[in-house]
């Protein structure tokens, strides 16, 4: 098997560069996926320029990060899924070590310990966003599908360890997203619906117990999250302003760089978590639907790649990466439109601040690798 793979790579190397599509194939790139991603990024830069008050320095900064992220994607696309799978446990354990290091000697920024400085500064929780679904898929690769109860318990532990470590930083948003990426894997692996709904039902009494243990002021904060109008100066401010921005955009928007909510600085976090509101204000429902359609295309392509994949690991991993991306999109857009409480999740590939951009693109690199390194197995 390895031999034939090598032969195929050699064949690629020797084949003449006939066309653009030939080059794309040689680099293990998936054309439709790359196209969708590039369109989202381009659209994002366009909106960001306006959201950041027509600040070109910031725009260049973001473009450079995008470039780095695209390079990361290309590099990851060259790694065959078998190779990734072999290294998965090491990546997972290494990630855990880094998370523990962060908790003990990490840098503190904005009240939380998230950064580690070993030559370069980075957040180990970012690496965990890929390592956790990889580890879960790795565990299920050699095992029976749908998973048995005992295996589910092991997986629950594998997911819980990094989740708790990241929650302790504290970074509740990221830890929940990472837990979600692992849970998606087991749901895709065919965990029974009885179990899914049973566990879901257990959350309700759990939440009630938690509520009873909370202090009054903590309860008040939770209530404010669900009803921002009671606290127009504090937690509710962002969401009131962002609803005004989106609503006043109407069908076609106020036009690029003409959003008054954004440009008169009423909208906080307008170039980071709340950039979706700027889009809604300046491009209207039309622009918003365009972006959502692009996201849908990318997610759909990801799921297609997952279905086409040839082994358990690749399938589960590709599915999880695509659906986690959907979770990001949904959580951000739902929070900005006031459907769910405000949690700090950026709009993927569009919000400024690219710490997560590299991870996202590396994830898409894995999707491309899975698609272009398909093995011929009997169907």
């Amino acid at each position: 098997m390895r031999l034939s793979e090598t032969q195929r790579m050699l064949a690629h190397k020797t084949a003449p560069l006939r066309s653009f599509s030939g080059l794309v194939r040689r680099l293990n790139i998936d054309g439709p996926l790359l196209g969708g991603l590039l369109l989202i990024c381009a659209f994002g830069l366009f909106v960001l320029y306006s959201a950041a008050g027509e600040n070109s320095r910031l725009l260049i900064n973001q473009a450079v990060r995008l470039g780095i992220a695209l390079v990361a994607m290309l590099v990851v696309a060259q790694l065959p899924p078998d190779f990734l799978r072999r290294w998965t446990p090491w990546a997972y354990v290494g990630g855990l070590v880094l998370l523990i290091l962060v908790l003990t000697k990490g840098d503190v920024g904005q009240g939380a310990r998230r950064w580690l400085d070993i030559g370069v500064r980075f957040q180990p929780s970012e690496a965990m966003k890929l390592a956790v679904p990889m580890m879960t898929a790795w565990f299920l690769h050699d095992r029976q599908i749908p998973p048995k109860l005992g295996h589910l318990v092991v997986i629950a532990v594998l997911i819980a360890i990094p989740t708790v470590l990241i929650a302790k930083q504290p970074d509740l948003g990221t830890s929940l997203l990472i837990a979600a990426s692992g849970i998606i894997v087991i749901i895709l692996a065919g965990m029974s619906f009885k179990l899914i709904f049973g566990l879901g039902a257990l959350c309700v009494p759990g939440a009630l117990v938690l509520w009873n243990f909370m202090q009054d002021y903590q309860k008040q904060r939770v209530l404010t999250l669900f009803n921002p109008d009671t606290d127009p100066l504090g937690a509710g401010y962002n969401i009131i302003q962002s609803k005004i921005a989106i609503g006043s955009g109407g069908l076609f928007g106020k036009g690029w760089t003409n959003g008054s909510q954004a440009h008169l600085e009423f909208l906080p976090e307008r170039h980071t978590d709340f950039i979706f509101a700027v889009l809604g204000e300046e491009f209207g429902l039309f622009g918003v639907l365009m972006l959502l359609a692009l996201y849908m295309f990318v997610i759909g392509r990801g799921l297609y790649i997952a279905v086409e994949a040839h082994d358990t690991f690749s399938r589960l991993l590709a599915g999880s990466i695509s659906l986690t991306f959907l979770v990001y999109v949904f959580v951000n857009t739902a929070m900005v439109t006031g459907l769910i409480p405000v949690v700090g999740v950026p709009l993927p590939l569009v919000s400024f601040g690219g710490t997560s951009m590299v991870t996202l693109m590396a994830g898409f690199g894995i999707l491309m690798s899975i698609h272009s390194h398909r093995k011929l197995l009997p169907h």
């Binding site: 904005q110 050699d142 095992r143 029976q144 599908i145 749908p146 998606i184 749901i187 895709l188 692996a189 065919g190 002021y217 109008d229 606290d231 127009p232 100066l233 504090g234 401010y237 609803k243 005004i244 921005a245 989106i246 609503g247 006043s248 955009g249 109407g250 069908l251 008054s260 909510q261 008169l264 600085e265 009423f266 906080p268 809604g280 209207g284 429902l285 918003v288 639907l289 959502l292 996201y295 849908m296 997610i299 759909g300 799921l303 997952a306 279905v307 358990t312 399938r315 589960l316 599915g319 659906l323 959907l326 999109v329 949904f330 857009t333 739902a334 439109t337 006031g338 459907l339 197995l377």
Partner: protein, 632 residues
């Protein structure tokens, strides 16, 4: 791999996966459908409403901080008020280059270079659209100077605000406390909705412990601003109709303290130039009439803001002006505990009213060479309990200490409120310490140190050794003596007043129980001895009580700062000032119908009767209406 494991069926696995993938797609479409439905609702159906809200002129919600409650003394004289002043503010998100702006402000002397890191941290931690205050009170000159340069400082402006003001400066600094600028801790601790727009919070004293009452609730108003963020008149716009109505701030409650400014001032002046504390209270209610700790400081420095170096000077001064000695300072109580121990000894039968001791100036335990000295080297001769209190004979108490025992001492002194918090209504009060066998067992590691020694009982009988008490505890104990055992919780706040309705919630005196002494006759004798301390022929403080227009009772004390070696001569003049004994005095008056109890401590004052007692007398004179008006 386990050979018995079922072989993977790739086809059924793939079918299962496709099923789940389809399900996932459906869920994805539903979720995004929800978002799209919401967008349609906002952008199509409610578009007009939101368009109105964001049209032409913009609405800005601004917090309106409440007016902090005033603080009065017991006769309605102002202790803390609010004065209008202009302050310099910076809105982080409107500043382009924070470092540059701050260093240029420092260059024109509006802020201090030392404070730049603090302002940077503040402006990066909070919400970016909320102003932070750079300077709390601008002089007219500074306002004029800055007004010319304002265009050079985007995001920096001056605003009229109310600033806390303490008209009597250092007089009430420790009793009433002070407010200071919110720090990052406060910001995390306090309710952001209530404190929106608030810049200060109570840090010490009643300003701190009654913060919740004094502060009030923030309101908010909607400002119509033009494209540059400047306010325009609101009545020209129909926009306001679509907005929720403004909410007025609810002002904080006024506090009426039990303190009497005249008594406070007399105590403060009497302590001038010394390190010490005075606590005076009404023994029938526990109302604190004066609470002074010196040296003091100007609390306005905290309200207005001072430079880091100014604060460092206050904090690091060897005289510790910021330290509230009255409530936080713990001192060996010395002979001031003798009346309480006498009652304990009578009640437990360790002594009786006729027992006599010949005092030869020192006391020795059997089989021990160590001499426990009396303060009077030549001795007091033959003394009974009454003389032992009036003349403060140490040897008498050394003698009965063995019969009384440390655990009885602990029991009765604790009943008088020593060794535990009095429950005063300011935070951080120290409990002091009354030792016992159990305490020693629990608080020492070494086996030898865990044991209680008889010699330790001997020195405990004159309030030395491990024993520690705060001036507040001593004043409360003096009041309990005056009341023949009835204890009341000392407190500073008499009433909380709603500033709008003027209604007052009165704080009722809280009876804490009685120190149970069964025989009234014991009280008569011990209190009579305390009376003789001040007005008897051989009392230690007779020079102070002589010729007074009312009857009073008291007890002096000195607390050793260093121990004097055996046979070494004690020469006060040669002793460095800071190594001299602390002078203590407790007293109450009038003797027949007590209305005031006082405790005084003068650090390194040497003599309780000579230095501390006159201060106590001046305080009682003032309160009982015999004050020298010139001191006011």
């Amino acid at each position: 791999m386990n050979l018995l494991a079922p072989i993977k069926d790739h086809h059924s696995e793939r079918r299962l996966f496709i099923g789940r993938a389809i399900l996932a797609s459906v869920v994805s479409i539903i979720l995004l459908g929800l978002v799209i439905a919401r967008l349609v609702q906002l952008q199509v159906f409610d578009h007009e409403l939101f368009a109105k809200k964001s049209q032409g002129n913009r609405v800005r919600i601004e917090a309106v901080p409440p007016i902090r409650g005033l603080v009065f003394d017991r006769k309605g004289r102002v202790i803390a008020e609010n004065l209008p002043a202009y302050q310099l503010e910076l809105i982080p998100e409107q500043v382009e280059d924070l470092d540059d702006t701050l260093s240029r402000l420092a260059a024109i002397n509006l802020i201090n270079t030392d404070d730049i890191p603090r302002f940077k941290a503040l402006s990066q931690s909070g919400q970016q659209f909320k102003p932070i205050t750079l300077k709390f009170r601008l002089t007219d000159e500074e306002i004029a100077h800055f007004a010319i340069q304002r265009p050079r400082f985007a995001g920096v402006d001056f605003q009229p605000r109310l600033v806390r003001h303490y008209p009597h400066g250092p007089l009430f600094a420790h009793a009433a406390g002070y407010v200071g600028a919110l720090n990052t801790n406060d910001v995390q601790r306090l309710d952001p909705a209530r404190y929106a727009g608030t810049s200060h919070t109570g840090k010490t004293g009643v300003e701190n412990s009654f913060e919740d009452k004094l502060h009030g609730d923030a309101g908010f108003r909607h400002l119509i601003t033009n494209a540059r963020g400047r306010q325009v008149p609101a009545n020209t716009s129909e926009l306001l109709e679509s907005l929720p109505t403004d909410e007025r701030p609810a002002p904080g409650a006024n506090l009426h303290l039990t303190l009497d400014m005249d008594v406070q001032r007399v105590a403060f002046n009497a302590l001038e130039g010394r390190r010490g504390a005075v606590v005076a209270l009404d023994p029938t209610t526990g109302e604190i009439l004066a609470l002074v700790s010196t040296p003091s400081f100007d609390p306005n420095l905290f309200a207005v803001g001072m430079s880091t170096s100014q604060y460092g000077e206050l904090r690091d001064s060897p005289d510790r002006p910021l330290f509230n000695r009255a409530v936080l300072g713990t001192y060996p109580p010395g002979s001031t505990i003798k009346p309480m121990l006498s009652l304990a000894a009578l009640e437990t039968g360790a002594t009786n009213l006729t027992r006599k001791t010949v005092c030869i100036g020192y006391f020795q335990l059997q089989g021990d060479e160590h001499r426990y000295r009396d303060w009077k080297p030549e001795g007091h001769g033959s003394v009974d309990l009454h003389d032992a209190i009036a003349q403060s004979c140490d040897v008498y108490f050394y003698e009965i200490s063995g019969d009384l025992g440390i655990d009885n001492m602990h029991e009765y002194l604790t009943r008088f409120g020593l060794g535990r918090q009095t429950g005063i209504d300011v935070l951080g009060e120290r409990p002091g310490l009354v030792p016992s066998r159990e305490w020693k067992r629990n608080n020492f590691r070494d086996r030898d140190n865990k044991r209680w020694y008889h010699g330790e009982t001997v020195i405990a009988s004159i309030g030395q050794g491990f024993m520690l008490a705060t001036p507040l505890q001593l004043a409360s104990a003096a009041g309990t003596l005056a009341m023949r055992g009835a204890r009341y919780r000392p407190h500073l706040v008499a009433a909380i007043e709603d500033p709008l309705s003027g209604q007052r919630e009165l704080i009722e005196p809280e009876w804490l129980g009685d120190v149970a002494i069964t025989n009234e006759f014991y009280w008569d004798n011990v209190l009579e001895a305390m009376h003789d301390v001040m007005q008897g022929p051989r009392g230690t403080a007779r020079a102070v009580g002589f010729g007074a227009p009312y009857q009073m009772a008291g007890k002096s004390g000195t607390a050793q700062v260093i121990s004097i070696a055996q046979d070494e001569e004690y020469d006060e003049d040669e002793l460095e000032e800071r190594l001299r004994d602390h002078a203590l005095f407790i007293s109450f008056a009038p003797f027949e119908d007590p209305r005031i109890a006082v405790a005084v401590i003068v650090e390194n004052g040497s003599s309780g009767s000579g230095v501390a007692a006159p201060i106590a007398k001046a305080v009682m004179d003032q309160y009982l209406g015999y004050g020298d008006d010139a001191t006011q």
